[in-house]
């Protein structure tokens, strides 16, 4: 009994020592990564991107093999219809944004300049990150920190944050706890993101806001970051809450356009 107790205690001490060493090692790795400008995390992201692409390929092979044909056909049709709906909404919203932009351009007599950029594939899941980030397959030769990342309809999905050799990390515009200055119906307000391409803003109630109104960000050169998805107004309150969303299913995106200066 006493021997057993001694053995268990010794094993516990050894395990605790390993935990303590692991803690120290992790702290050292963190410090090295910070000193090296994120070199270790860049390597891990490249590995993660390869793993994600491989797993996507395997997933596609299995579910397109015909083995799960009946379920798969229904699921595919459902996904296709959802994507069609999302694209129709996106086109309608993009039209509204273009119309507003056109009106603004006519009023200000500005000249639209063509901007350079690169098309980059999305190489990670858009729901995987707790920090509202995702990976794109463009590295230091193509993009730079701060570059804008656009959807195919021209909405700003985010900005490039970290640039690795082959992949880059993108901060989503409406990541949870992120806030950004936007203009809605001519009023400047702060939109608070809460993830998944959604945000919320508080406006005075006397400003007329309609569902589908464009939401633009002056910090991003007046580009659209979303549209008004819903407006909640309480007669007892002087303010109204405007719910903003990016009119595209971010998870269905395969490519983004990175505007380079």
């Amino acid at each position: 009994m006493r021997d057993g107790f001694t053995f268990a205690s010794a094993r516990g001490r050894s395990a605790r020592r390993r935990l303590f060493i692991a803690t120290l090692v992790v702290v050292v790795v963190l410090v090295i990564d910070v000193i090296s400008g994120g070199m270790i995390r860049a390597k891990l992201r490249t590995f993660g991107a390869v793993l994600w692409q491989t797993s996507s390929g395997i997933h596609g092979t299995i579910f397109n093999s015909g083995y799960f044909a009946s379920h798969r056909a229904l699921a595919d049709e459902n996904t296709m219809l959802r994507e069609q709906l999302a694209r129709a909404e996106e086109r309608a919203a993009a039209y509204s944004v273009l119309k507003d932009e056109n009106d603004g351009l006519r009023a200000l007599e500005q000249v639209v300049r063509t901007e350079r950029g690169v098309t980059a594939p999305i190489v990670s899941s858009l729901i995987a990150s707790p920090y509202g980030t995702f990976l794109i397959g463009a590295g230091a030769n193509d993009v730079h920190p701060g570059d804008l990342v656009l959807t195919d309809a021209g909405f700003v999905a985010g900005t490039v944050s970290d640039v690795g050799s082959r992949t880059s990390l993108v901060n989503q515009t409406f990541a949870a706890d992120a806030s950004i200055d936007v203009r809605i119906a001519g009023a400047s307000v702060v939109a608070s993101g809460y993830g998944g391409g959604n945000a919320r803003a508080i406006l005075p109630r006397d400003i007329t806001v309609k569902v589908g109104d464009a939401v633009v960000a002056p910090a991003y050169g007046g580009r659209a970051v979303g549209v008004v998805g819903n407006v909640r107004s309480d007669p007892a309150n002087a303010d109204q809450t405007v719910y903003i969303r990016i009119p595209v299913n971010l998870s269905s995106l395969r490519f983004v356009y990175v505007v380079t200066p």
Binding site: G12, R18, L19, L30, R41, L44, L51, S125, A128
Partner: protein, 81 residues
């Protein structure tokens, strides 16, 4: 079992939803004196957190993992002794 949970957590950190490694970390912390928990926390931060300097980007999951590992130690001691 311990290695399987750690692998699931690691794959979840890289390609799955971030809840997967969190659940794996809690299960591991409750049952084992597992140093893998801290690596899982570090993996999530390295994979997804912008490296805008340690002051700007606090490594929440790494610190959380260290706290969980050591906070569960008294409970584990009761179960494992």
């Amino acid at each position: 079992m311990r290695i399987t949970i750690a692998l699931i957590g690691f794959c979840g950190a890289l390609i799955g939803h971030w809840w997967i490694p969190v659940i794996c970390m809690l299960v591991l912390a409750f049952r084992y004196r597992a140093w893998e928990i801290i690596l899982l926390g570090l993996s999530i931060d390295f994979m997804w957190e912008p490296a805008a300097g340690i002051a700007a980007s606090f490594p929440y999951f790494t610190i959380g993992a260290i706290v969980v590992v050591w906070a569960f130690e008294p409970i584990r001691s009761q179960f494992l002794s």
